[in-house]
Amino acid sequence: VTTLKAILTELLGLFLDDGRLAGAILAWLVLGYLLLPRFGLPFGIGAFALFAGLVTILVESVLREASGRPG
C-alpha cells in the first residue's frame, strides 16, 4: 500500500509542484484555446503569443520564488 501511495504521489507530483505555476499554465492554455484561433491573427502571431505567455509565466514563477526565499 505504501509503495502504491508513493507511486501515485509521484505521479501527481510530476505535474503539480508549484500550484500557482500549474494553475497559470492551465489558465493560459484554456484562454489560448478559446481565444487565439478566433482572432484571425496574422500568420505565426498566435503561436508566438502562446510561447510568450508561457515564458512570462515561467519567469514570474522563478522570480517570485527567488524573492521569497532567504538568501
Binding site: 510530476l14 503561436a47 510561447f51
Partner: protein
C-alpha cells in the same frame, strides 16, 4: 528527422537523470542488504514499466492526433516547466543541488538500522529496490509515452532513448559500484526541461490549430527561445538575490 532525433535525445537525457537517482538507492540496497533482493526488485519494476509503455504507447498513437497533441502537450508543459523551474532555481543558487552521495549515505544508514534478514529473498531489499525503480521509472514512462504519442513513428526513438539511458546507467552501476555523483545532473535537468517545454508548446499549438512558421523547424526556435529565457531567468534570480542580501 528533427523530431526523431530530438525525441530520442529528450527521452535519453530525462531517463538518464531518473535512472541515476534510482541507481543510487538500488546500490545502497545491494551493498547493505544483498544484491539478490536489490537486483530482483529493480528488475521486477522495470518489467512492469516496460509493460506499461508496451500497452499505453501504441494505444495512444491510435487516438486522433489533434486531441493527443492538446492533452499530452499540456501534460508535457506542466512536467517540463516544473523541471525547468527547479533547474533555474538550482542554477541560481535559490535551492540546493541534488546530492547523490548524501542520498546514498542516508539510504545506507536507514537500511542498516532495519537489521539483517536471514532469508534468501530479503523482503525489505526487494520492496525498497522495486519502489524506487517504480517511482523514478514512472517519470520515464510518462516522457516516453508523451513524446512517442506526438506523431507517427516517434514511440520507437523515444523508447530507444530511454533504453540507451538504462543501458548506460546499468554499465555505470556495474563498473563503479557506488553512486554516480559526478554527472552534471542539474545541467541535464535544465536541458531536458527546455526540450520538454518546447515539445509541449509545439504540440499544444498544433492541437489548437495554430500555424507554426517554418513548420517542424519552429521546434528548434522554441528550444532556443526557452533556453534563452531560462538562462536570462537564472541571471535575473541571481541579481535579485544579490540585491536582497
Amino acid at each position: 528527422m528533427l523530431h526523431t532525433f530530438s525525441c530520442a535525445l529528450a527521452a535519453f537525457a530525462a531517463s538518464l537523470v531518473e535512472f541515476v537517482e534510482a541507481l543510487t538507492i538500488v546500490l545502497a540496497v545491494g551493498a547493505v542488504r544483498g544484491w539478490r533482493g536489490a537486483i530482483g526488485g529493480a528488475a521486477a519494476a522495470l518489467l512492469v514499466l516496460g509493460a506499461v509503455i508496451g500497452i499505453f504507447g501504441p494505444a495512444l498513437t491510435r487516438i486522433r492526433l489533434g486531441a493527443v497533441h492538446l492533452v499530452l502537450g499540456t501534460l508535457l508543459l506542466l512536467f517540463g516547466m516544473r523541471w525547468l523551474r527547479k533547474a533555474i532555481l538550482r542554477a541560481a543558487g535559490v535551492i540546493p543541488l541534488n546530492d547523490e552521495a548524501a542520498s546514498y549515505a542516508r539510504q545506507t544508514a536507514a537500511l542498516q538500522d532495519a537489521g539483517r534478514a536471514a532469508v534468501a529473498w530479503d523482503k525489505l531489499a526487494l520492496a525498497t529496490a522495486f519502489k524506487i525503480t517504480m517511482v523514478e521509472g514512472i517519470e520515464v514512462v510518462f516522457i516516453v509515452i508523451a513524446i512517442g504519442a506526438g506523431g507517427p513513428g516517434l514511440l520507437l526513438p523515444a523508447s530507444f532513448g530511454a533504453a540507451m539511458a538504462l543501458a548506460v546507467v546499468i554499465l555505470l552501476g556495474v563498473a563503479l559500484h557506488r553512486p554516480v555523483a559526478t554527472i552534471p545532473e542539474n545541467t541535464l535537468k535544465f536541458g531536458v526541461g527546455v526540450l520538454l517545454s518546447a515539445f509541449g508548446t509545439f504540440w499544444v499549438g498544433e492541437g489548437m490549430r495554430l500555424a507554426w512558421p517554418g513548420g517542424d523547424l519552429s521546434l528548434a526556435l522554441l528550444v532556443a527561445g526557452y533556453l534563452a529565457a531560462a538562462l536570462g531567468a537564472v541571471s535575473l534570480c541571481r541579481s535579485r538575490r544579490r540585491a536582497g542580501a
